[in-house]
């Protein structure tokens, strides 16, 4: 297990998604669950994405949504669970932030991601065939930089780590099936 902090959370998040693209380009089964109460796009530093390969092109990407787009381009099933913008409007979160969330969801939906909402969602996690990144986060109003309290990353390898991984995968699958599909036409 790798402890996840503010410092390495994005590295792992981005890495997991890039490796899933690679797997898909190999013709292997590939998927991604993106679970977060709030999802908004952010620009990735080029150095994060600086990925050299002679079999896959990660070049034209500069934001998180672009990266999800690349997954979709490689035919990866992307399932998103988040809180609905309508639900968020009942909270104290800034309007601007909720608008941003709504725009991002609309983009993801357009790319063919399956989006579901869950009003009681607090956890944030990314799961792929390569591993699970999860943690509990404090909500801040600044969008992306959710305040990380305790985070962990389990690779899908063997032993305890594999068991933890499988456990979390099951949780994600269950969560997804219990959540409400979003009517795309209601997203801007």
């Amino acid at each position: 297990m790798v402890h996840v902090t503010e410092e390495n959370v994005e590295i792992i998040d981005v890495d997991l998604l890039i490796q899933e693209c690679l797997r898909a380009s190999e013709g292997k089964e590939a998927f991604a669950y993106i679970i977060s109460p709030f999802i908004s796009d952010f620009i990735l530093s080029p150095s994060w994405l600086s990925f050299v390969s002679n079999i896959i092109e990660v070049a034209d990407i500069d934001s998180y949504v672009d990266l999800v787009g690349l997954l979709r381009h490689h035919g990866v099933d992307v399932r998103v669970v988040t809180r609905s913008p309508a639900d968020l409007r009942t909270t104290t979160i800034s309007r601007k932030f909720i608008d941003k969330q709504e725009r991002t969801l609309a983009q993801l939906a357009k790319m063919g991601c399956e989006i579901r909402t869950n009003a009681s969602l607090h956890a944030k996690a990314t799961l792929t065939s390569g591993g699970v990144l999860a943690g509990s986060f404090n909500l801040t109003q600044s969008g992306r930089s959710l305040n990380l309290e305790a985070g962990f990353y389990f690779p899908n390898t063997f032993g305890i780590e594999k068991r933890e991984y499988e456990d979390k995968l099951e949780w994600a699958q269950r969560l997804f099936s219990e959540s409400v599909p979003v009517n795309n036409s209601r997203l801007r």
């Binding site: 790798v2 402890h3 996840v4 410092e7 390495n8 994005e10 590295i11 792992i12 890495d15 997991l16 890039i18 490796q19 690679l22 797997r23 380009s25 190999e26 013709g27 292997k28 908004s40 796009d41 952010f42 620009i43 990735l44 530093s45 080029p46 150095s47 994060w48 600086s50 990925f51 050299v52 390969s53 002679n54 079999i55 896959i56 070049a59 034209d60 990407i61 500069d62 934001s63 949504v65 672009d66 725009r103 991002t104 983009q107 390569g130 591993g131 990144l133 600044s142 969008g143 992306r144 990353y153 690779p155 899908n156 390898t157 063997f158």
Partner: protein, 725 residues
């Protein structure tokens, strides 16, 4: 059209300008063109506005043309590959067709006078920018620039393939001196270039020397070998010579690239002499190279980026112990030596391959060849000359439609060659030249990707341990500056929120080091070919399997040729595809020989997917394949990065310690068969374990993945790059 519509149009143009400015996919050159067109439209709008205010009937034809231009601009914007631009634009542009090379034309640019002595119109002289003249109006070229086709004069060159430029007015003194193959040559500035009108658009062209009858060229070859053809295509053969520089700032790259390039500096001022040494002409699927006497050129004050290249002696020792590489580089060297003495013997360049092929077979350099030492011994004994003559003549008679090279010419050519001294050290130096030249191409391609420019916007200059890329126009065009700015080691790892949805943002430019690093990886086509011909385990990655499927299809069509390749081995394909010595030995008929040659042109030393630049290569498109070596470059990169490479099963502590000391680790996995053919599962798992782990102050990141299959070994391997960030 009323004034509201005009305002709407102006509004549209304003939006267009903003878009053009922020879209990094549009090259600087295109930006210049688009702005030029927009300026025209804007002035048209204001004129139209004046016109309607004066209640004058609008010129509908002009409006229609403007409308079409506007649509065109829209169309150009949506074109992914903007190289169609020239074709598009020329249908609407006015004479003379000239695309500005840079957005800002620097003042005081030098001009050349183009002289039309026979011109019936009033204008006998046209002033043309020097760079344009040297790029498009060099002696021997044809142009439709002025409506009627014209030729820039060369006089007769058929005897020795040297064009004496006395009919033109050149500067009285040389403007700079250039070092070339150990000699110093003077380069003169053209002042007035004489042209002649070409009336016959399908003139008779000599199949032997490619001279055109009825113009100023002509030749004394038999009339029966002259055939009418459309005007041949040509390109200038150029070379650059550094004159002065002023450096401003330098940066280091990250590992693993830092092993190849030790530093990158920006050249705020770079003065370079650009010479046009001659031209290449092609017709009848042949190429001839004609040299100028004297060479002409200009001095460019521009900006550049200098890359300090690290080629330690150890890597050259290593490379010169690889027999296949040494043999192929020797063949390339022989090609250069032969072509250098071609003009002295009045031999057209396109005979290079059969002649080289004769030398190859007489020296026993073909497949199952002798070792290099004995090849070199044979070479220095000159006992090979007679055999080479016979081999060349036999090849010529069997496989070339017309091959009228006299025996005595061949003998004098080969005797001249045999007097040259070629030793192991010569080949070692030559390997270094191959490396530098191949690196220069990679840098140029990476530069174009980063700056979003065309290969014609940049030039390269190779010296002993350095390669300079520089803007190809006087005053610079911003490409080098952009390359220097987009070296990612200058950036920190950071995140920024996206305020607006993706569509409104500009594209991320590709970082220079990233683009360059990818070009340093093995060529996908070459790897696929080796896997295919050697029947190695096939990686399941889409891009590789797509190429393997394509090869499989070709094998179905050319089964004999492919059988032949598997017999000689894919690593011998470069040498086997030079001329027809192998088909001759095996008694193939012409069709089988052609098919073999086509199938054997695999990527060993470069292909259009990796290094090949065609006419943009300073050696010219014809000699390019004798100037590059992807195989050497790959082996060089493997050697330079070998201290980072670990077996993927290595202990965690070993991987950690490599990462700690070097900042980089490359986990390597060899594909086994048959059980897990092509699978990366185990390597994937290893990457998953290291992902995001803390090492000291930094974290491990997965930063690269590639497939390799070296020419020197019969295996396929995956490499995963881990870096500390």
């Amino acid at each position: 059209m009323n004034s509201d519509q005009l305002s709407e149009m102006q509004q549209f143009l304003n939006e267009l300008k903003t878009k053009i400015r922020v879209d990094s996919n549009i090259s600087i050159e295109k930006v210049g063109d688009l702005f030029e067109s927009i300026r025209n439209l804007e002035s048209a709008i204001s004129e139209y506005r004046t016109a309607i205010s004066q209640d004058v009937t609008p010129d509908l034809a002009t409006v229609e043309r403007l409308r079409r231009k506007l649509t065109l601009i829209g169309a150009i914007q949506s074109i992914q590959n903007p190289s169609y631009f020239d074709e598009f634009a020329s249908t609407l542009a006015e004479h003379p067709y000239s695309l500005p090379k840079a957005l800002f034309d620097p003042q005081g640019r030098e001009m050349v006078t183009i002289d039309f002595p026979g011109s019936r119109s009033d204008q006998q002289f046209h002033k043309v920018r020097m760079d344009l003249a040297l790029g498009m109006l060099y002696p021997g070229s044809f142009t439709y620039r002025y409506g009627q086709p014209i030729k820039v004069e060369t006089g007769r060159f058929s005897q020795r393939f040297i064009a004496n430029l006395r009919m033109h007015t050149l500067s009285p003194d040389p403007i700079f001196k250039m070092k070339r193959d150990g000699r110093i040559i003077d380069v003169y500035k053209p002042i007035r270039l004489r042209t002649m009108q070409v009336v016959d658009r399908n003139p008779f062209i000599c199949r032997n020397c490619l001279s055109i009858s009825g113009l100023d060229e002509g030749c004394s070859h038999a009339p029966r070998i002259k055939q009418p053809r459309k005007l041949p295509s040509s390109s200038a053969v150029t070379a650059n010579q550094e004159l002065e520089r002023q450096t401003e700032g330098s940066v280091a790259l990250r590992a693993p690239l830092s092993t190849v390039i030790t530093s990158v500096s920006f050249l705020e001022r770079f003065k370079v002499g650009q010479a046009v040494l001659g031209f290449e002409r092609s017709a009848f699927r042949h190429v001839t190279i004609v040299d100028y006497d004297p060479p002409i050129g200009m001095i460019l004050e521009t900006k550049g980026v200098a890359f300090a290249i690290n080629i330690p002696p150890g890597v050259l020792d290593h490379l010169s112990n690889i027999p296949i590489l040494v043999r192929d580089v020797l063949a390339q060297l022989l090609a250069h030596k032969l072509i250098d003495s071609f003009s002295r013997n009045g031999m057209p360049s396109y005979y290079l391959e059969p002649i080289l092929s004769g030398v190859i077979s007489s020296l026993g350099m073909g497949q199952g060849s002798k070792d290099v030492t004995s090849v070199l011994n044979t070479f220095s004994s000159s006992s090979w000359v007679e055999n080479a003559i016979q081999a060349t003549l036999a090849e010529g008679a069997n496989y070339y439609e017309r091959f009228d090279v006299q025996e005595r010419r061949l003998r004098s050519l080969f005797e001249l060659l045999s007097q040259q001294s070629i030793e192991l050290q010569t080949i070692k130096n030559e390997i270094k030249n191959r490396l530098l030249h191949s690196l220069a191409h990679n840098l140029l391609i990476a530069g174009c990707v980063t700056a979003g420019c065309l290969p014609s916007d940049l030039e390269y200059l190779i010296s002993d341990n350095e390669i300079v890329l520089f803007d190809s126009v006087d005053g610079g065009n911003g490409s080098s500056a952009m390359i220097f700015d987009f070296i990612s080691s200058r950036d920190s790892f950071s995140l920024t929120d996206v305020e607006e949805p993706t569509k409104e943002r500009t594209f991320r430019p590709k970082y220079f080091d990233e683009a360059f690093a990818e070009l340093m990886l093995p060529c996908q086509q070459g790897v696929s070919e080796r896997i295919f011909h050697r029947q190695l385990p096939v990686p399941t990655h889409q891009e590789i399997s797509r190429r393997i499927t394509a090869l499989e299809r070709q094998r179905q069509a050319y089964s004999d040729a492919y059988k032949q390749i598997s017999q000689i081995g894919v690593e011998n394909c470069f040498i086997a595809s030079l001329g027809f010595h192998l088909p001759l030995e095996l008694g193939m008929d012409v069709q089988a020989a052609e098919r073999f040659k086509e199938s054997a042109s695999v990527c060993l030393h470069g292909c259009p997917d990796c290094l090949v630049l065609g006419n943009r290569c300073e050696e010219g498109g014809f000699m390019e394949k004798f100037s590059l070596s992807k195989a050497a470059l790959d082996e060089y990169f493997r050697y330079m990065t070998k201290s980072y490479v670990l077996d993927y099963r290595a202990e965690d502590s070993v991987i950690d310690s490599t990462l700690n000391t070097q900042g980089v680790a490359i986990l390597s996995m060899q594909l086994t068969r048959p059980a897990e053919e092509g699978s990366t599962d185990k390597l994937d798992a290893r990457i998953a374990e290291f992902r995001g782990r803390r090492l000291g102050e930094r974290f491990i990141k997965f930063a690269g993945f590639w497939v390799d299959s070296p020419i020197t070994s019969n295996d396929v391997r995956y490499s995963a790059l881990l870096v500390l960030v």
